[in-house]
């Protein structure tokens, strides 16, 4: 009797695992954070931009940064930026956008 119950439980577990085997794991939502541009410096061909979000907010040096288009949530074409320094309350980025483009698109979103 006990042996047949064990076989039954094993079958249920096996069936359950097979049923979910070829279903993709639903990815957990990546935390996206947005920050305001507060400083702009022109250094050679690059623009150095400071935004008000830093390690206190969980930003890390390996995070990816991307400018948004104006006030929208759409990513700006060519708006990728490299994180070059993360301070407590601010992060410094390097971008190849022009100064005019930075002035027109002042929100940067971060993702890990």
């Amino acid at each position: 009797m006990i042996a047949s119950v064990r076989v039954l439980v094993a079958c249920i577990l096996l069936f359950g695992s097979l049923a979910h085997a070829d279903k993709k794991q639903k990815p957990s939502p990546r935390p996206v954070m947005k920050a305001r541009v507060v400083d702009l410096e022109v250094v050679g061909e690059s623009r150095i931009v400071t935004v008000l979000l830093g390690s206190d907010n969980g930003i890390g040096k390996t995070w990816h940064a991307k400018f948004r288009e104006g006030a929208t949530a759409k990513p700006l074409a060519g708006g990728e930026a490299i994180v070059i320094r993360v301070d407590k309350r601010s992060t410094v980025l390097k971008t190849s956008l022009s100064a005019e483009q930075v002035r027109a698109n002042r929100v940067v979103e971060f993702a890990p």
Partner: protein, 432 residues
Amino acid sequence: MMFWRCCVLSLVVACGSSPKPATVDLPKNDVAPAQPAPAKPVAVAFVLEGHELWIGNDQTDVSEDERYLGALKPLEEAFAKVSTAGLPIGSTATVITYGEHALVRHPMAPIAKLTAAAFGEQKDYYGVIDRDLVGGVTLGLDELAKVNGAHRVLIVIGDGTDTNADAAKAALPTLAKRAAAENVQVVSFVYKGPLSSPGNLLAAFDPSTLTVNSIDAVGNELEALFDGFTPQPVVARSRNAVALALLVSGAETWMGNDDIELAANDPSRYTGALKAILAALDTSPMTEFPAGSQGAILTYDDRVKTRRRMGPIEKIDSRAFGDQKTYYRTAGNELVSGVRTAIGQLRNVEAGRKVLVILGDGNDTNNEAAKAQLRDLAKKASELHIEVRAIIWKSALSDEDNIIHELDPTVSTAKTSEQLTTQLVAVMKAMR
């Protein structure tokens, strides 16, 4: 640096002065006529950085994470204390700010109409991410160029950087030449904001630019600057008139920092000597000196600063010293440079009696080299008939050594701050 600043400022002021009257022979009694001060109006262009974080945004609707105090509020408070009432009739001022572009915020108008409100409010600067320093300086010179018949002064206040540093490095020396060619006196202050980059491009425009740790220091400097333009009343100068140079250590730990926001048990919290000095000046105001007596205040830390230029001795008061914030984050002990500058200032003053009073811990940053230098300065003081009176007060961090006796063999030591007050009052009384 301060020495050269004083030289340059003095030279420019002298160049901009109206002609002095012909020399009058001194009368045979003990009173000499004083030189009337120049009455040429002054045209001032304030050129102020307009970057959001430098200005500050704590009074706007930003979130707590984005909140920064900035310079505007303390600058307006400091400016409100600066008197322009004594400036020559016809003096004018304009306010220019620079962000993405430079703009005239307050057009050139009688300086009496200029209030702190002319600098605007924090919300006016919200979202400004640029610093067009070159544009600000250019517009300042343009506005001054429109004024004729006045002594022109350009006052630049910012963090000393520009959005485009490379372009600014190339442009600012050219603007410096333009300022010189147009007889514009340049005074500039660098005050670093919360996210300011290091470096000081303003030095390429004004080699004498003064870096300050507090905006109060800008207020003190402006007051001293405007004092210099204020026509002095024509008072008969007694042959016994005194010229005093009060040279005081300006290092934070010597002046004290216990009024600044440091925890009561913070090991870097010191009471210091400033309060004792202010108590002396409050107890015994600098009055009842012979007519025409003058005084100046200088401090020394890692550089020498003229806190109050040589002027009526009555103006040597507790306010002229500022508060502990004025000396916050200063360090160093350039005693020899301080003495040299003070003697230089006394040499250029006409007075029956010249006195150099030194308050400090009796040491120099480099005591070995300073000994011989102070001996030479003692000789120079003697040749110029300058009396030297030194008082030593040791701070908690002062070295026990003492080399000031090379300059003043009769130096006295105050063991407590009360003694410092008493001894300073006694020295001042003996000068009257």
